[in-house]
């Protein structure tokens, strides 16, 4: 997730201060990684420095002054560019899962790797069931369903990958030990 772009996206509908942004984030992306208040203000500071947002006035709602921010023209342009940019198609290849599977296969051997993969597969299947339950809940919003779809699609890919990777690396293991 790109926090600056998410913050700019939330500002696209009109000026907001930090507290509103945090709340809007939690409503719009309830299943995303939680966004801390500190992160919101730090991000606003960087966007302000780069001219992507400007202060749009202050208000006081029974507490200290709060500064509202609004998107500048260059902020909007940056946001549009980000939205049009295709993400790298293999963002997870450097992830923990690949590292652990590969290191286990190479260091601990096929049996240990198989055990790890079986446990990992079980965890993936369990998570896939959880997400399926989320999206089939009659109370689920379209946002919930779309977020669950994304998770399910990636888990599905991981599950297929888990099986075929073990297939390939087991062959490689035999080849290496035969030398």
């Amino acid at each position: 997730m790109s926090t600056p772009h998410v913050v700019m996206g939330l500002l696209a509908s009109g000026p907001k201060h930090g507290y509103d942004l945090k709340r809007a984030h939690d409503v719009r992306l309830p299943r995303a990684k939680p966004l801390a208040f500190g992160q919101v203000y730090a991000t606003l500071g960087r966007l302000l420095r780069d001219g992507l947002v400007v202060a749009a006035g202050q208000d006081r709602d029974g507490g200290p002054d709060r500064t509202a921010y609004t998107l500048t023209d260059s902020g909007l342009a940056a946001l549009m560019t980000w939205m049009r940019t295709v993400e790298p198609p293999m963002p997870h290849l450097g992830g923990t899962l690949l590292t652990k599977v590969v290191v286990t296969l190479l260091v601990a051997g096929v049996d240990q790797a198989r055990g790890f993969l079986a446990a990992q597969r079980e965890a993936h299947v369990a998570r896939l069931r959880e997400l399926t339950a989320v999206k089939t809940d009659p109370e689920a919003t379209l946002g919930d369903v779309i977020a669950a779809d994304y998770g399910i699609a990636h888990l599905d890919a991981d599950l297929r990958w888990l099986t075929t990777t073990l297939d390939r690396v087991a062959d490689l293991h035999r080849e290496v030990t035969a030398e």
């Binding site: 096929v110 198989r114 993969l117 079986a118 597969r121 079980e122 299947v125 896939l128 069931r129 997400l131 399926t132 089939t136 399910i152 699609a153 888990l155 599905d156 599950l159 297929r160 888990l162 099986t163 075929t164 073990l166 297939d167 087991a170 062959d171 293991h173």
Partner: protein, 247 residues
């Protein structure tokens, strides 16, 4: 038990004991010299949705056909509520499929000459239900599947998803205790397949119908409560399919 013994009684297993709901014990089945099942043992629990997954050719469809009493295994037992299915007469097995079991295949296999409501009513008519009552029940199930407006259309006039919804209605109209599904959304695009599956699972849970769901797709298996993986005709305890065999 609803009346599977209409044509010929199912033989009770002996000795009776603490048995499960639907069980396979050491099932073996070959096609010519090609083995499909090489000793499958599993318990299906009442009310659960159980996914049977595995790569193409692993024997999962054969297992479903044996459990549903469509195929006889070469060896092993199929026990449904303390009754052997594998040794039951053809008549008893057919009666079981009319009353206790429902079956849903990848392609709905609706009768092309009949309208949707006639297709859905068919299992009830075959089971002896009166024409008017069968039609009323069929219309109710079409409504639950969201395709009541298609009642008088024939399969050729419907989309694949609409046909499969009618097939789900037909499979559930007898309110079976067990529903056997073989790649039920395999011929549909992902969103349509998801809608059909969503209906199927929701209605099955409402009816407390036990579902055996054969699929190669992990996303479809995600709708199940539990999953077993078949590999080369046996249950693979690791769930890793071919990889474990080749390692």
């Amino acid at each position: 038990m609803k009346a599977p013994q209409k044509d010929a009684p199912l033989r009770s297993t002996s000795p009776p004991g603490p048995r499960g709901f639907l069980q396979a014990r050491g099932l073996v089945r070959s096609y010519g010299h090609t083995p499909a099942l090489r000793g499958v043992t599993l318990d299906v629990r009442e009310g659960e949705i159980l996914a049977v997954t595995g790569p193409s050719g692993c024997g999962k469809s054969t297992l479903l056909h044996c459990l549903a009493g469509i195929l006889r295994p070469d060896a092993g037992e199929v026990v449904y509520r303390d009754h052997r299915i594998d040794t039951a007469s053809e008549g008893a097995r057919a009666a079981l499929r009319r009353t206790e079991f429902g079956v849903l295949f990848q392609f709905g296999q609706l009768v092309a000459e009949l309208t949707a409501v006639e297709n859905v009513a068919l299992p009830l008519l075959l089971a002896g239900t009166g024409r008017r009552e069968a039609r009323t029940a069929a219309l109710s199930w079409l409504d639950r599947l969201g395709v009541a407006e298609l009642a008088d259309q024939r399969p050729g006039e419907m989309s694949g998803g609409q046909q499969q919804r009618c097939a789900v209605a037909r499979a559930l109209v007898t309110e079976p205790r067990v529903l056997f599904c073989d790649e039920p959304t395999g011929s549909l695009d992902s969103l349509t397949g998801e809608q059909v599956l969503g209906h199927l699972v929701r209605l099955a849970r409402d009816q407390r119908t036990t579902v055996l769901l054969v699929t190669h797709d992990p996303r479809v298996a995600g709708y199940a409560d539990r999953e077993i993986v078949l590999r080369d005709g046996v249950v693979d305890p690791t769930g890793l399919g071919a990889a474990a065999a080749r390692a």
